[in-house]
Amino acid sequence: MGVSTPTNNSQHCKQTNKKRSTVVSPMGNHQQLPPTPYTLTKSCIPRVHKESIEERKLANRLKLLNNELKKQVDSYKKTNNQLGQAIKILRKYDQETKILLLIDKWRSISQGGMSYMLNSTLLKIDRMGGYEELRRKELEAEKRKIEYQVDDRLQDEMDNVLESEEFKALPDEDQEEYKARMQNRIDEMTIWKEKELLKLDEKLKSNSEKEMTMRELSQRLKVDYDLVFAE
């Protein structure tokens, strides 16, 4: 009996311990869960956010500095390049002097050439009856050119169309419209021709020059007058 009693007590104690541990474990887990995830979340997100902001600021500052340095480098390169080229020219300045002499030479040749050509042209003009006669002939040639440009082809073309079977087969309304359109074109060309011919007549009358000038000759020969006669 005495032996039996202690055994029963031990079993009872064990059972009690088991129950307590079971109760305590869930409580422990419950207490630990809330703070751990919350703490991690707090510590991670703000830190990453701050770092990314700081990094971005730093990157921007470095970029701005980089751009500024690049501008300065480019500016110095340009200046140094100009200095280098200018120095090359000055080191061989006798070549520069030579160019100036060559400019004088070719200007003299050009002026001499123009002078010869002017004399030659004046002689030719005299042989054909004088400067006014030359201008008159030139303007007459321009008139003939205009006359040719506005010959009667348009009228002939219209007449041919009007006499064609296809045209006659058209409704009267269409025929009248076509005639009006063609006549309008002919009228416009006639007006243009008369205006151009009038311009040439005025040009001949108002011609103030009595002789071929060096400037006019330069223009005819397609020579830059101001370049040749700069001095």
Binding site: A59, L62, N80, A86, I103, W106, I109, G113, L227, V228
Partner: protein
């Protein structure tokens, strides 16, 4: 990224120092040459003037050659003869 830019900046700063030193040397040489030649133009003006002169020379030469050809044709002689008559060599 920041490291790459920073490295680039360091290189550019070094390059900038080199260019500044080069400018000082070039500026000094330019001023010495200008003094010797009694030239008061700025470097860019020296270059521009040089280009302008070359252009003028080329244009005048073209005109001169074209005119002497016209004259030679009219006279039925050689261009060389026209130059000799004017007292010039064709060369240059």
């Amino acid at each position: 990224m920041p490291c790459t830019i920073e490295l680039s900046n360091e290189k550019r700063e070094a390059q900038l120092e080199e260019l500044k030193a080069a400018k000082c040397r070039l500026q000094k040489e330019f001023e010495e040459l200008s003094a010797e030649l009694s030239i008061v133009h700025k470097p860019k003006d020296v270059i521009d003037l040089h280009i302008q002169r070359l252009k003028e020379y080329n244009e005048l030469r073209d005109v001169g050659l074209r005119l002497t050809q016209l004259i030679a044709d009219e006279k039925a002689c050689k261009v060389k003869d026209v130059f000799e008559e004017m007292g010039y060599e064709v060369a240059d």
